[in-house]
Each structure stands twice: as structure tokens, then as C-alpha cells.
């Protein structure tokens, strides 16, 4: 007796997407009315028995698991995802935008001293590397980003980083509203050009 192929598909998708093993009862509730869950489970288990993924039953609950014989090849330790510290993020951003840039310059822009460890994290991640020495007093080392950096952030070139105006336009550089609060409409003085925009002073920002 053949099982309903569409029901098997639904069962497969349900088990795949579920965060936890599902009991037959739970599967019943989610499957279409009248589906033969038991037969579907058997059919599905059979489909997968030679594959790299198995359908397994544990305490009456069902779930997909990678085949036990592959454990060695897969080495299943969960990889750890870490967040970059605020300082590291800002330092990375400054190097990306201002490179080649010395540590003193980074500190100047950030307005705080940079820990040695901050740069180390970025070097270790493979995103920044030392550039040329600046030919000034003390010949300080400059920092630049690596090809890896472009790779990581799917950028084709450094030129594709948005400029200040573009950051602002996309809302990434928030500015306090300046004269906005003062109503500017109305035609009391028709003929006088409205003193255009709130963002006027933008041009005063140094160009990148």
C-alpha cells in the first residue's frame, strides 16, 4: 500500500524546520486532515536510511539527525559567533574610511585612547594590516584594510563605501534637527527664496 507522497513531503518539511523533535501527536495536529502519519514516518525513515541524514525516533519523538557514521568527518562542535566590541568596530570603520591611518590619528578621530588589544582583534580577524610608515617625525606605522576585509563585507572596492553625504542620505548618520522646528512655509514674503535645507552645513564637513 503506497503512502500519500504529498503528505510525506509535508512531514519532511515539518520535521526539517522544527526546532525540537516532534511527537506523533504533534505531527498529527500539523498534518492535513486524515493523513496517515505513522505510514508517512515509516516511508520517510526508509527514504533516508542510506543518506547522510537520518530520520530518528527518540522517546516517541521524531527528528532529522546527521548520520552517526559521519560524526568524525563533521566534527560537530558548535562554532562560536562573537560580536565585535564597540571600540573594535569603530577602529575598523576608521581604518576603512581613512586608510592609511596611524594609531594617533585613529585616537584623534575617536576621541579616546585605543587599547593595544583592539587592533590585535582586527589583525587576528585578518581585516587590517600594517601599511607603510608615515614619513613624518617618529615615522609612525599606518594601518590599512586587507583583501579579506573586502571579502567579508562583499565589497568590490574601498571606493564603494558610502561617503558622508551618502551615509547621511541613507539615515546612517543621524543628525539633530537644526532649524527644522521653525516653520518655514507660508508665503508672507513671496519672491524670497526659501532658505533651502536643514542639511546645509553638510558641505562644511571635510570631504573624505
Amino acid at each position: 500500500m503506497s503512502v500519500n507522497a504529498e503528505h510525506v513531503r509535508i512531514l519532511e518539511a515539518l520535521l526539517f524546520a522544527s526546532e525540537e523533535p516532534l511527537s506523533t501527536q504533534e505531527l498529527h495536529e500539523r498534518m492535513p486532515e486524515g493523513a496517515d502519519v505513522g505510514s508517512c514516518l515509516m516511508a520517510l525513515k526508509d527514504d533516508y536510511k542510506e543518506r547522510g541524514v537520518h530520520l530518528v525516533e527518540m522517546d516517541g519523538r521524531w527528528a532529522f539527525r546527521t548520520a552517526p557514521d559521519l560524526a568524525d568527518v563533521l566534527s560537530m562542535e558548535k562554532e562560536e559567533k562573537k560580536k565585535l566590541s564597540r571600540a573594535a568596530l569603530e577602529t575598523l570603520a576608521i581604518i576603512a574610511y581613512h586608510q592609511p591611518v596611524t594609531r594617533a590619528e585613529i585616537e584623534n578621530i575617536r576621541g579616546v585612547a585605543t587599547n593595544r588589544g583592539t587592533l590585535d582583534v582586527l589583525i587576528e580577524a585578518g581585516w587590517v594590516k600594517p601599511g607603510k610608515r608615515r614619513e613624518t617625525l617618529g615615522r609612525p606605522l599606518t594601518w590599512i584594510t586587507t583583501a579579506n576585509f573586502l571579502d567579508q563585507f562583499a565589497l568590490e572596492s574601498l571606493m564603494d563605501l558610502p561617503g558622508l553625504d551618502e551615509l547621511k542620505a541613507s539615515g546612517l548618520l543621524d543628525r539633530r534637527p537644526a532649524i527644522e522646528a521653525i516653520p518655514g512655509e507660508g508665503d508672507l514674503f513671496a519672491g524670497q527664496l526659501p532658505s533651502e535645507d536643514v542639511e546645509q552645513d553638510e558641505t562644511e564637513l571635510e570631504e573624505l
Binding site: E19, E20, K83, A93, A96, A178, E185, Q192
Partner: protein
């Protein structure tokens, strides 16, 4: 739709249909209810075009222009604040309309009115298409609702290196924040160039002193004529007007001048009173906007 609607045939160019204000005012009012929901004048035009219930390829531009004008007039009649872009569009449409209606004489004028109308129609069709595509995108099964990833991934250690959870957004945002901070450190309070009350008062007293008093050949002088001419700075001009008006009120209170206005939004007039005019009635002022 009422029976007296001339229901013009849908074509891009046609005679201006006879005005049926009641109908258009109704439509304009319906739109005005939603003014905050509109994304600019093109959006309003698109909404109006949809009312024509024809394919956008056959939409009547002239009808559209008329309806848009009704919308703008209504908004102004109701004293609604319209962004400048709505008025600019109105001016542009008025120009287009006149070009469409005038007999074509100068063939050299480029582009022709027809091309302009077509471009407008294209703009509307393109925006409508994008709005439809946005809806269709949202109807797509989405990851997390309809399409699912593995619910319980066992996890893979992909490399010895730590995987950093950093997106391009984080970098851009960080840089934006730094710049913002840097900017705020050096934030200069904007210096507003305004005319002070004292200043306006001194100015007005001086000017009034030069004018004939009541009882002699006293003349009514408009408030605006007390405002310095040729001010370029719009904010300064507004403050000058406001300060002059307030100064006028103060002088009236002191019995030095009298003020009148013929009605709401009408010009405000002032004239000097004789120094000890017994008729000096500071209350003479009527409603002022």
C-alpha cells in the same frame, strides 16, 4: 459618479471637459483626508489616475491635471499646509496643460507637450509597477513564514578562526556614529539672525515720527511698510514682521498709534496719533490674524 459628469473618453489628449466642481471637490476632499499618507505629488497623481478606472496607458492627462488642480485649490481653501513640491508640481502641470491646449505653432520647442504628457504617464506607470512589485515581493513565501531553514542545525565548526558576527551595516553605522559624535563636540549653536522687539520698536517710532500725525494729514500705513526692504534672509524677514507687529501693539497700548484691519488676513494698517489726542483709543484694533 454623478450623471452630470462629462465622462470624457479616455485618451491622452482631448478637450478640457466642462468643469464640474462639485465632483472634483469631492474627490479632492477624499484625497485630502489622506494627505499624510501620500508620498509626494506623483503618488497623488497616481491615486487620481486610478480613479479614472482605465489602464494607465489610456489615462487622460488633462483630466488628471484638472483633478490635481482641484486637489491643490481645495487644500489651499482649507488652509492645509502643503509641501512645496505639491505646488511645484501644480505649476508644472499648469504649464503642461497650457501647452497641451494651445495650438501647436512652434514645432521647434523641444520637447513637445505630447512628449511631456507621455513622460508623465510613463512615470506613473513605472511607480505603479513598483508598488505592485513591492506587494508581490511581500506575498512571496518568506524565510521564517512559509519557507524554513533547518530548525535545529547541529552546527559546524567551519574553521579554527572565530566567526565574527559583523555586517557591513555595523561598520557604516559605527562610522556614522563617530562622525556624529565628532560633529557634536564642535557643535556650534546656530546663530539666528533675528530682528529684536527693541530694534523694531525703535525703528517704528522713528518712522512714525516722520509721518504726519492724526488730525493733520495723518495716513494709514501698512504694517509691512515698516519692515526693512530687500531682506534676503527669510527667517530674518519673518522675525522683522513679527517684531514690528508686536512693537505696533506695544505702541498702540501706549496710545501713540492706532491699528486697524479690515478683515481676516487683510493688511494691517497703522497710523500715528497726536501726542495728546483725547480720542486715542488703543482698543481700536480689530481681529488680527
Amino acid at each position: 459618479m454623478t450623471s452630470n459628469d462629462a465622462a470624457p473618453k479616455p485618451s491622452v489628449f482631448q478637450e478640457d471637459a466642462p468643469r464640474v466642481p462639485s465632483q472634483e471637490v469631492r474627490e479632492a476632499d477624499a484625497l485630502l483626508l489622506n494627505i499624510d499618507g501620500f508620498e509626494g505629488p506623483i503618488d497623488v497623481l497616481l491615486e487620481l489616475a486610478r480613479h479614472q478606472k482605465v489602464d494607465l496607458v489610456h489615462v487622460s492627462i488633462l483630466q488628471l491635471v484638472r483633478q490635481y488642480m482641484a486637489f491643490i485649490e481645495r487644500a489651499q481653501a482649507l488652509d492645509l499646509e502643503l509641501a512645496a513640491e505639491y505646488l511645484v508640481m501644480a505649476a508644472w502641470l499648469a504649464y503642461l496643460k497650457s501647452r497641451l491646449l494651445l495650438p501647436r505653432e512652434d514645432e521647434s520647442v523641444d520637447p513637445s507637450a505630447e512628449e511631456m504628457a507621455e513622460a508623465l504617464q510613463f512615470q506613473l506607470r513605472r511607480l505603479e509597477a513598483m508598488q505592485q512589485m513591492a506587494d508581490r515581493l511581500m506575498e512571496q513565501p518568506q524565510l521564517g513564514s512559509g519557507v524554513f531553514a533547518r530548525g535545529a542545525p547541529e552546527g559546524l565548526n567551519l574553521s579554527k578562526r572565530t566567526r565574527w558576527n559583523v555586517q557591513i551595516y555595523d561598520i557604516l553605522k559605527a562610522y556614522g556614529d563617530i562622525r556624529k559624535r565628532a560633529e557634536e563636540v564642535n557643535y556650534d549653536l546656530p546663530v539666528f539672525h533675528l530682528m529684536s522687539m527693541d530694534n523694531a520698536m525703535a525703528r517704528m517710532s522713528k518712522m512714525l515720527g516722520a509721518l504726519p500725525r492724526k488730525g493733520l494729514n495723518s495716513v494709514w500705513t501698512t504694517l509691512t511698510s515698516f519692515v526693512p526692504e530687500g531682506i534676503k534672509d527669510r527667517l530674518y524677514a519673518r522675525s522683522a514682521l513679527a517684531s514690528s507687529f508686536t512693537a505696533g501693539l506695544e505702541l498702540a497700548k501706549q496710545g501713540k498709534i492706532e491699528i486697524k484691519q479690515d478683515g481676516l488676513f487683510r493688511p494691517v494698517y497703522m497710523r500715528a496719533l497726536a501726542d495728546n489726542d483725547p480720542q486715542a483709543t488703543p482698543e481700536k484694533m480689530e481681529k488680527v490674524s
